[in-house]
Symmetry: none
Subunit: 171 residues, 2 copies
Amino acid sequence: MQRPTEFVRDQVTAVRESVATAAAEASTANTTVSSSVGEFIRNQRNAAQVSLRELSRLAGVSNPYLSQVERGLRKPSAEILAQIARGLKISAETLYEQAGILDRRSGTASTVAALRADEALSERHKAVLLELYETYAREHAAQLAREQAAASTAPAPTTTAPTPTPQEETA
Amino acid sequence: MQRPTEFVRDQVTAVRESVATAAAEASTANTTVSSSVGEFIRNQRNAAQVSLRELSRLAGVSNPYLSQVERGLRKPSAEILAQIARGLKISAETLYEQAGILDRRSGTASTVAALRADEALSERHKAVLLELYETYAREHAAQLAREQAAASTAPAPTTTAPTPTPQEETA
DNA sequence: GCACCCCGCTTGCAACAGCTAGCACGCTGG
DNA sequence: CCAGCGTGCTAGCTGTTGCAAGCGGGGTGC
């Protein structure tokens, strides 16, 4: 019989498998700092392996306009940014920050400490969120390690199945 | 009493559904809130005993346009809102919230800020955790409200203070 | 009376956001 | 070969944003 913490971790990982794959790609894109919201949107879209038309459909904006936004030809309103964020399944605030509408919060408060001290949560909910957070952080760190191993052309022993590489973005 | 298996599955599955629900609620909130940013600006300006022309000068926007914004005839961009906020010496986020650009998030700002700034997470994982956090915080608040209602048999206010109404009485 | 300053608002316009219709290109199956 | 489908992009259009020029009203000093 599995212990509760192991069980929770396995459950969460299984449910998020498909999302985690795209998330790993997204984290790769994040490593390269984007200087504009358009680039950022394109990177996120490519990481999620979504075509421009599909994202425009998901976001509810026209595909030519989305193309122009990605190429920096147009400056989208906050409303459009929110729609694009919804299509990308990321927070609108992320795009606001990239667009310079919202200031990026400085001060790296410890996420774990904040979650633990947050009185807006019950203890059980805290445990779930912390477990999920640690799982995500671990995956993110593992992905970065794989990226570095690939960069140095060393045969890195991978414990997971091969994930789609970014070359598939041009499908 | 749910077993841990069912509990986690239900919670994680609910996240996907809550995204569309939250989006629908957000659009409703936007409709309601966005009509009052002008009123809010005028109230703030009157409270500061500043003329429309003086505020337009401080903010760096034309006074006719500011007048139109206050009367709800025009919908200002986030950039203009930020300028007006600077003129009023209030945070831009305050006006963004009034305009419906930014969601008022429940829970403590430090937890939200920590999650958003945490570089150990990808953007997608951040969004997932934030949505789950929101859901939990809302449930916790509802639970506390129920417990207090049962204890005192009176409609007790929750830990969140009532939103201050625009200072219409000082106009 | 006048000129001058303040006030908030009207009007018309230029620039831009966001859209539709359609293009060119690549790929696939018959 | 073709037709069909996918891809991202061009061009032109409409509606909106934000502005400048100016209006009418009130108050003050000469």
